[in-house]
């Protein structure tokens, strides 16, 4: 086949365009674009470096044992994050015990059961819950929920035979349990939204196959939909855990701020976030402040680890499996071939 006339010119035209764009093709724009990306990377590195540098004094004073050493007593110059780490993990765990069944049930309802006219407004409402500022949740929990807890919920929890092992002691209201409920309220939208996306991403053909085998609706959900969305749900829960670990102000309002070993979920406790909120303003300059910043460093490591895990989970799935339905909704999205790298 002979070469088409004129095709030979394409390369030179391309070259001309490239030269033109290289010389005056918005070089300022490219520089600004690079600068913005550089600023962002600098912020990221600066954040980690700043926290690391500022906490180094405390870590030098206490040693690496800061992370698990059990006493937090600034008055006696004793600093250790151990109890606060335990408090953070306990509140997050209890919150997850509440959120996982409720969140997954709601997601299943929205994606599998609810009629369209109900599913739309309901998911919007739950997304709006995500927009409610944490301080408003905290205020509501402190002034409305806490008296209800002290008078009704906590005495009830104490009276249930098997739960007594977890719930005993006086019912104040502000407690680890209340903080966990607050965290549950705040992480619920994350769990619902992400696991709903995962559930509705399971292929229709898979459901139809199960239906054709005679499965009831519930069996389809249990045997096909949930297993198919397993990794998406895992990612949703991981991200929710990350959020619960890092929440500080609402927790500080309702947990009672008592950095001691929690013996009951009704006792007041403290988390890393709540301790930072309460201690930072009063910390003595030098070692005191540095210790509080070291708490922030521990919190940062904890959340970074959890979030990196969640992102890795999401990433491993790829858009093909988790976001299958989302892709179908996006008509303007270009195909793979068209999305190859644009020469810079």
């Amino acid at each position: 086949m002979t070469a088409l006339p004129g095709l030979a010119g394409v390369a030179s035209v391309k070259d001309a365009i490239r030269r033109r764009h290289g010389r005056r093709g918005g070089r300022a724009y490219v520089v600004v674009r690079w600068a913005a990306a550089a600023v962002f990377v600098a912020l990221l590195c600066g954040l980690v470096a700043s926290i690391a540098v500022d906490s180094s004094q405390a870590l030098a004073h206490t040693g690496i044992g800061f992370i698990w050493s059990g006493t937090w007593n600034p008055a006696a110059n004793q600093f250790g994050a151990g109890i606060l780490v335990v408090g953070t993990i306990v509140t997050t765990f209890v919150a997850m015990v509440i959120v996982v069944p409720v969140g997954l049930g709601t997601a299943a309802f929205l994606s599998e059961l609810a009629p369209r006219w109900l599913a739309g407004p309901l998911s919007t409402a739950i997304d709006l819950l995500a927009a409610v500022p944490s301080i408003v949740v905290g205020l509501w929990a402190l002034l409305v929920l806490s008296p209800v807890f002290a008078d009704h919920v906590e005495p009830f929890l104490k009276s249930v035979p098997l739960l007594q092992w977890f719930f005993h002691g006086p019912a104040y209201g502000p407690s680890i349990m209340l903080a966990s409920v607050v965290l549950a309220v705040m992480t619920l939208p994350t769990v619902v939204a992400l696991s709903r996306t995962a559930l509705s991403g399971v292929a229709l053909a898979d459901r139809e196959a199960a239906m054709a085998l005679g499965a009831t609706h519930w069996q389809v959900v249990r045997e096909v939909v949930f297993p198919g969305a397993r990794s998406g749900i895992a990612a949703a829960l991981t991200l929710a855990v990350g959020r619960a670990l890092g929440e500080s102000i609402a927790v500080a309002m309702v947990i009672g701020n008592n950095p001691s070993v929690p013996h009951s979920l009704l006792a007041p406790g403290a988390t890393l976030g709540s301790a930072i909120v309460n201690e930072f303003a009063e910390a003595a300059p030098g070692i005191g402040t540095s210790s509080v910043i070291a708490l922030a460093a521990v919190l940062l490591m904890l959340t970074l680890a959890v979030n990196a895990g969640g992102q890795a989970l999401l990433r491993r799935l790829g858009p093909g499996r988790l976001l299958r339905s989302e892709r179908a909704e996006r008509p303007a999205r270009p195909g793979r071939a068209a999305r190859r790298e644009v020469p810079a």
Binding site: R20, H21, G26, Y29, R33, A36, A37, F40, L43, L44, G46, L47, I51, V102, G103, G105, T106, A108, F109, L113, T124, A125, I126, D127, L128, A131, V132, P133, I135, V136, L139, L142, L143, V144, L188, V192, T216, H217, W218, G242, L245, G246, S248, I249, V277, I293, A296, L299, L300, T303, L304, N307, G310, Q311, P331, A332, R333, A338, R339, V342
Partner: protein, 309 residues
């Protein structure tokens, strides 16, 4: 795996499964009622489980909806009585003196968020353009960094702002608070902006370039123009997150009365009913603002998807 795919059970119902000869069918004929009864029994059980599942799911959805309803209800019930025009335009007064408002807090919040937007929007937009036009390892790393930064607790960001802008300058400032909020909103903006830009077809970008336009011109007239509704809604959502943040302001703002969220925190944790009343009224203003903002953002996004169809 009740009744769906259970080879063991299938074998129990029909021994000699797989033997399809005429004689075998006849021999098994008398068992048909037994098999059918068994199938009915499992179907009954399976349907019962299905009904239970449905009831539990409805219950879960109701439980999930309850906090939002309770939050809005109580904030309105306790906040509305304290709300008036004077409340919005007067400055706070010391405890014990009647009257007073939250004008300084509203102005302070607006100033902080405005400054934060001024810092975050350009960086976010250009970083998103960077991610949009370049693929590869660096872009992937930045995207991953943005996702990680989204998960960093806001209080840690507050301490970062304190270390960077408050301690060296020896005074608290709205600038430091705005910086903290900017850092907080930046990753949300980057990801939302990039998602919005992806909805613009690459063909249009290529067409723009083929016309000989500069990169900056294509970015402005094709990518940003096409992605505008998505950009607006994504950035509005980031704003609604930023306005409601308290923790980063704790260590950066000079006084609690200079930001709505901090004001709620200090007033709400006091034992006096008047202070708590102030907190509720402020919370109502904040909640209304944030919910309206997310509603607008959602409307814009909805408008976008409808137009795309």
């Amino acid at each position: 795996m009740n009744g769906v795919v259970d080879p063991g059970r299938a074998r129990r119902y029909e021994d000699g499964a797989g033997d399809d000869s005429e004689a075998s069918w006849k021999a098994r004929e008398h068992r048909r009622p037994i098999i059918q009864a068994a199938a009915r029994r499992t179907l009954k059980r399976r349907r019962l489980a299905g009904r239970l599942f449905r009831a539990l799911c409805v219950l879960c959805a109701a439980i999930a909806l309850a906090p939002l309803v309770a939050l809005v209800y109580y904030t309105a019930e306790r906040g509305l009585p304290g709300l008036s025009f004077g409340f919005l335009i007067h400055a706070p007064v010391p405890e014990g003196i009647p009257g007073g408002g939250i004008s300084t807090a509203i102005v302070g919040s607006a100033e902080i968020v405005g400054l934060a937007l001024l810092m975050a929007i350009p960086v976010g937009l250009f970083t998103a353009l960077f991610l949009h036009e370049r693929r590869g390892r660096l872009a992937g790393a930045i995207r991953f960094g943005a996702d990680l930064l989204t998960g960093v607790p806001s209080i840690v960001i507050g301490i970062f702002a304190y270390a960077l802008l408050v301690r060296p300058l020896h005074h608290f400032s709205n600038l430091a608070a705005a910086f903290a909020l900017g850092v907080l909103m930046l990753p949300i903006m980057i990801r939302a902006d990039e998602e919005a830009m992806r909805t613009v077809a690459v063909d249009l970008w290529e067409a723009g370039m083929a016309l000989g336009a500069r990169r900056s011109r294509v970015a402005r007239s094709v990518v940003l123009r096409g992605a505008l509704p998505g950009l607006v809604s994504g950035n509005l959502l980031a704003v609604s997150r930023g306005v409601g943040e308290t923790a980063p302001l704790l260590f950066t703002v000079a006084a609690p009365s200079f930001a709505m969220t901090l004001f709620i925190y200090t007033e709400g944790t006091q034992p006096f009913p008047t202070a708590q009343q102030m907190a509720w009224a402020t919370a109502f203003v904040l909640l209304a603002f944030v919910l309206v903002l997310s509603g607008v953002a959602r409307l814009v996004a909805w408008h976008l998807t409808r137009k795309a169809r």
